[in-house]
Subunit: 254 residues, 2 copies
């Protein structure tokens, strides 16, 4: 199977390398920025281009792992070769391909990718959506090369899944970031809190998050809450976040 | 070594059972609520009471694992036996014992405890503070029975550590809770997002949270952000949380 990759960011990099490792031939990488296309193409030992007119038309499948707004612009400016076309975005409906390609779908790995961090794809759910049963079968097979966790997810579900992921990953990481800053201010290293971070993530495997909730907000411990707000006196933003989340937790549990 | 436990909540339960398993003799459990004292005492095969006048005075160490406000009230109403007295609270200064006991300290396990979930104490940091080098040595030894991760932490540091833990654990769990609700609304099970939760927690072992930040807020992807706010239209609170956290992430990274 031959594939072309649009994009050279974190997701494009991890996904193309993982597919190549499973025998998919990545023939070309496209990026608006020629030097970025080249870096990924060198890792894959493939061709690369930053010119839409030069897109290789011989591939079986085209992956679009681009920033959402750029992906939508690109679709307007380029005639899609006769093949399967899939995007990898959480928030974009499959139907943007309609009328532009006969066979299309979505190939959405639910994970957070950083260039510096290796990823074990076998633990990552891949969410599939397809324009026909035939395409669905092909995408399921392709995803199955990477992981046993293949889900059929509609565009509507995927949008909500992506929103849930913003809370469970992006906002959660920001909570870690704030904790990091507070510890640094106390002259403490981040590693002291790592076991707590792990246990918090582990716990919700066996207890639903609602029941796992602990802390001053859920028991409405005003003394502790006001002490914490005093400690945060130098940061208006953090006080606002602390107050809003505490109030919201309390409301949910009272 | 003989110990008395004040409290019968999650922390008191896990800690007393773990210490008993390492050979500490728990002679008595106190709780305001007699039936709660009894439940824990039965698990420990120890005595119990809900009457401060009946506190066993023969113990070597007294643990106070109580709600903060109740602990402070209790100190006023009760004469401390001649022994070591330690509380287990994140936000309370060691000095509340001053003038009431000769030997005292803090024994603060940095973890989230739920009654339903077993805890492996060997992975939990225990933060120690003591009124004298002798008490410090004893507490370090005691903590060392449970875990290799024993830290000497001052009251000032511990307050900040506890605040950091509210972000890294309590608020993080609330992010999971919100994700759970969104997935439920989409007809999806929570297990689809578990690998993402794990990876988010794992990632910050090798990359600092600031660098690990991903998502629409950090790249200021307005299209996605406004789509997400539309999906959250039915909940004023969640929209407010989404907006505040996104804005704050963006400000931190721009």
């Amino acid at each position: 199977m031959k594939a072309v990759f649009f994009g050279s960011g974190n997701l494009a990099t991890h996904l193309s390398l993982a597919l190549q490792a499973k025998g998919v031939e990545i023939v070309q990488v496209y990026s608006r920025t020629r030097s970025n296309a080249r870096i990924l193409a060198e890792a894959l030992n493939s061709n690369y281009t930053s010119d839409l007119a030069e897109i290789d038309k011989s591939a079986d499948i085209y992956f679009y792992a681009l920033k959402d707004s750029y992906f939508l612009k690109l679709l307007e400016r380029y005639e899609l070769p006769d093949a399967i076309h899939v995007h990898t975005a959480g928030s974009i409906s499959m139907n943007y391909f309609k009328g532009r390609a006969a066979n299309y779908g979505v190939f959405y790995p639910l994970q957070t990718f950083s260039k510096k961090k290796e990823i074990d794809f076998s633990k990552i759910p891949v969410c599939i959506e397809a324009s026909s049963p035939e395409v669905q079968e092909k995408l399921t097979e392709l995803a199955g090369l990477l992981t046993p966790k293949v889900y059929n997810i509609s565009s509507e579900q995927r949008k909500k899944l992506h929103l849930a992921a913003v809370f469970a990953c992006n906002f959660t990481n920001y909570m870690y970031d704030i904790a990091y800053e507070i510890l640094e201010d106390a002259g403490l290293g981040f590693e002291i809190i790592q076991p707590l971070i792990n246990e918090t993530a582990e716990k919700v495997k066996t207890i639903v998050p609602y029941e796992a909730q602990t802390g001053p907000a859920v028991r409405f411990d005003e003394t502790t809450i006001s002490r914490h707000l005093t400690l945060l006196r130098r940061s208006y933003d953090l006080r606002k976040i602390y107050r809003l989340l505490s109030k919201s937790i309390y409301k949910r549990h009272k």
